[in-house]
């Protein structure tokens, strides 16, 4: 190892190995992933998945990015044998590559100082989100999340109260004649958080057995399904 060129070629080869394994090969496998169909449960029909976010939620993703929300919140649910993600009700199934098809940027996060948000839209509503942003301890006493008051403004009530003014408990309510309204950033962020739902079972994460039984009953009725082979087999027998 006394010549520069040998050193360079060796390093290039080592880098190429890692690059092939972690950048190129995943790109070849997942690079042209497209919308897929959900596995129907009960009497539902297969649906396109995932659906693009509504417009305002796109702006909300930017607020989520700008304020580094991902440094405390992940957006991925692990499978049942890893941790208690599913038991905590953070999702109905584990997260899959398909779930992030339309995300830009993809902010999965790596640390949970707050709970996972992959399906936050399924378990919250707009006022709940405003309350959590305005003062997290209103909803979750003991929460360590900082308040994001700069997303709101306190203003005098005009002719009519704003339709989306934050509904606070009495002891935190603003003085009479004033209301706390979300700024556009807070509205967009709430729209984004509400759009976070990994709905529908997919081929790689089929419905649990008790739901599958229903699926099979439907598929024998001739409804075309995209069900996993494992789910379809008993029906053939």
């Amino acid at each position: 190892m006394n010549s520069g060129p040998v050193l360079f070629v060796g390093l290039l080869a080592a880098m190429a190995c890692s690059w092939t394994g972690f950048v190129l090969a995943p790109q070849m496998q997942l690079g042209d992933l497209t919308q897929t169909n959900t596995v129907p449960v009960g009497d539902t029909l297969p649906q396109n998945y995932p659906l693009a976010r509504p417009g305002e939620a796109h702006g909300g993703a930017e607020i989520y990015r700008a304020n580094g929300c991902a440094s405390c919140h992940t957006e991925m649910v692990r499978s049942g044998n890893l941790g208690s993600d599913l038991q905590r009700g953070w999702g109905a199934r584990r997260s899959l590559a398909e779930d992030y098809l339309f995300e830009q940027p993809v902010m999965l996060g790596l640390q949970r100082i707050g709970p996972d948000l992959a399906n936050f839209g399924r378990r919250s509503d707009t006022n709940g989100i405003y309350l959590r942003l305005y003062d997290p301890r209103l909803i979750t006493p003991g929460s360590v999340m900082p308040p994001y008051r700069f997303l709101f403004e306190t203003r005098k009530i005009g002719l009519f109260p704003a339709h989306d003014a934050v509904v606070l408990p009495d002891k935190d309510a603003p003085p009479a004649g004033y209301e706390i309204v979300p700024r556009p950033e807070a509205r967009a962020l709430a729209a984004y958080l509400l759009s976070l739902r990994q709905d529908g079972y997919l081929y790689e994460a089929p419905p649990p057995p008790q739901l599958q039984a229903k699926t099979n009953a439907v598929s024998t009725n001739g409804v075309p399904t995209n069900a996993a082979p494992a789910a379809a087999k008993p029906a053939v027998k």
Partner: protein
């Protein structure tokens, strides 16, 4: 070169200050929360950027240039180019960090610099890197010393991973979850390989040099070098990530195989030092480098443990990884750089090692050492506790977080100690620079 070192230290101070701010937020969530610029997420991203790009890259390049000159028995090629590159780099990092605080972070961990800042950083690095390669090229003929491989390795690794990340995350964003895997791969390579190589280059140079004893085995060093390049670069994908499982398996296998370079480096230095620990007190550089090496071994071993599927099911997404990062960044990399600077700076300025104020030096060592230790141990306790409590779905999330608050608040003390240590070192550094100025003035008179 001095520009690089000086500004690297200032960035380190900024990074640890930002870290302290965020640590304080766990004492009172409302602390500095009224300003969007100082909200937790932004400060966290800015701290990352200041540490990795402000301190990490500059310290690594500065140290690399010095080692290439010293070991190649030559002078720096294109000092003006290095100076301009350093100025460019600092401008880019300053603008980028300010932009992150204004909300322009890219949203990828360890790659937070906004898109317009990335070409500037890349160009500045190329200026530095080309000068380094020219310096390497004009070396005196003879056998290459391991430190030279490590320096060349680190200086080559950075532009590759940086340009890959820039291309696949910003220029032509990869589809969906691939962005996440690419960002994880980048962050893992940045830490394990780039910072690892740069720090170990210093370790391989100073320990044998200051003990006046030859390195035990060049072959073991070569083995460590190549296996670290090969396996250290594979990893960073958390178990349970929404990607095909072969990617996760590859990541686990790569991480576990870094046991080879760890063991090789450990045995190599064990044989070199041969329990001669008396020199530890004699030389500050040696003391810092030893401790840095020790922390590298622990941090790398912890990374392996954390990648094992049985452990990662519990430890993933907790403070466990934050503890590893703290130990790797401050315990290994910063400590090693401090040690190297205690040796290099006086020589660059034409002074003796005695130019350092010994009292400050001693205090700096103990503050940093204890600070890192306190922060690391409390984060580990927080991480393991959080992981075990969370794995039982009966414990509510907020309850678990409340129970980890105590160790987290302890870690603030560690952060504070580290910050004091850095301030002491900067004061000492400024003192040495002033002595050099006085001497230069006297000579002119």
């Amino acid at each position: 070169m001095l520009t690089l070192f000086g500004s690297a230290l200032v960035w380190l101070l900024i990074a640890s200050l930002l870290g302290l701010i965020n640590s304080l937020k766990f004492h009172a969530p409302g602390f500095l929360a009224a300003q969007p610029y100082l909200s937790y997420g932004r400060v966290h991203a800015a701290e990352n950027a200041a540490f990795l790009y402000g301190f990490g890259v500059q310290a690594a390049v500065g140290l690399g240039l010095w080692l290439l000159c010293r070991l190649g028995r030559t002078i720096l090629a294109g000092p003006a180019c290095v100076f301009i590159g350093a100025v460019f780099w600092n401008t880019a990092v300053t603008l980028g960090t300010a932009a992150i605080l204004c909300g322009q972070s890219t949203g990828y961990d360890s790659f937070e610099m906004p898109a317009w800042c990335v070409p500037l950083l890349f160009a500045a690095f190329l200026m530095l890197g080309i000068c380094a390669m020219l310096t390497f090229h004009q070396r005196q003929p003879g056998r290459l010393y391991p430190s030279q491989w490590f320096v060349v390795g680190s200086l080559f690794w950075f532009p590759w991973i940086f340009s890959t990340a820039a291309l696949t995350l910003l220029c032509v964003p990869a589809r969906g979850v691939l962005q996440a895997t690419n960002a994880w791969w980048y962050a893992h390579n940045f830490n394990t390989v780039f910072l690892g190589f740069a720090g170990l280059a210093s370790t391989f140079y100073f320990i044998p040099k200051l003990l006046s004893r030859p390195l035990h085995s060049h072959y073991q060093a070569a083995l460590a070098f190549w296996t670290l390049a090969l396996f250290g670069s594979c990893g960073g994908i958390p178990d349970g990530a929404p990607v095909p499982s072969w990617i996760i398996s590859l990541s686990v296998v790569g991480t576990v195989l870094t046991a080879i370079p760890i063991l090789t480096v450990a045995t190599n230095f064990y044989q070199t030092v041969q329990r001669d620990l008396n020199a530890l007190d004699a030389d500050p550089t040696l003391r810092f480098t030893y401790v840095g090496l020790f922390f590298w071994i622990i941090a790398s071993a912890q990374q392996i443990v954390g990648a094992l599927p049985t452990v990662s099911a519990i430890s993933d997404f907790t403070w466990f990884a934050a503890a590893q990062k703290e130990l790797f960044h401050y315990g290994f990399f910063a400590m090693t750089i401090f040690g190297a600077l205690y040796y290099i700076v006086p020589r660059l300025l034409g002074l003796e090692s005695s130019a350092w104020c010994p009292k400050f030096l001693k205090l700096h060592f103990w503050f940093t050492f204890l600070g890192v230790l306190i922060a690391y141990l409390s984060l580990i306790v927080a991480g393991v506790g959080q992981g075990i409590l969370l794995s039982n779905a009966g414990n509510s999330f907020v309850d678990v977080m409340r129970r980890t608050m105590m160790p987290l608040r302890m870690s603030t003390l560690g952060d504070l100690f580290v910050l004091v240590g850095i301030v002491l070192f900067l004061l000492n550094f400024a003192g040495v620079c002033r002595q050099a100025c006085c001497m230069a003035r006297k000579e002119r008179v």
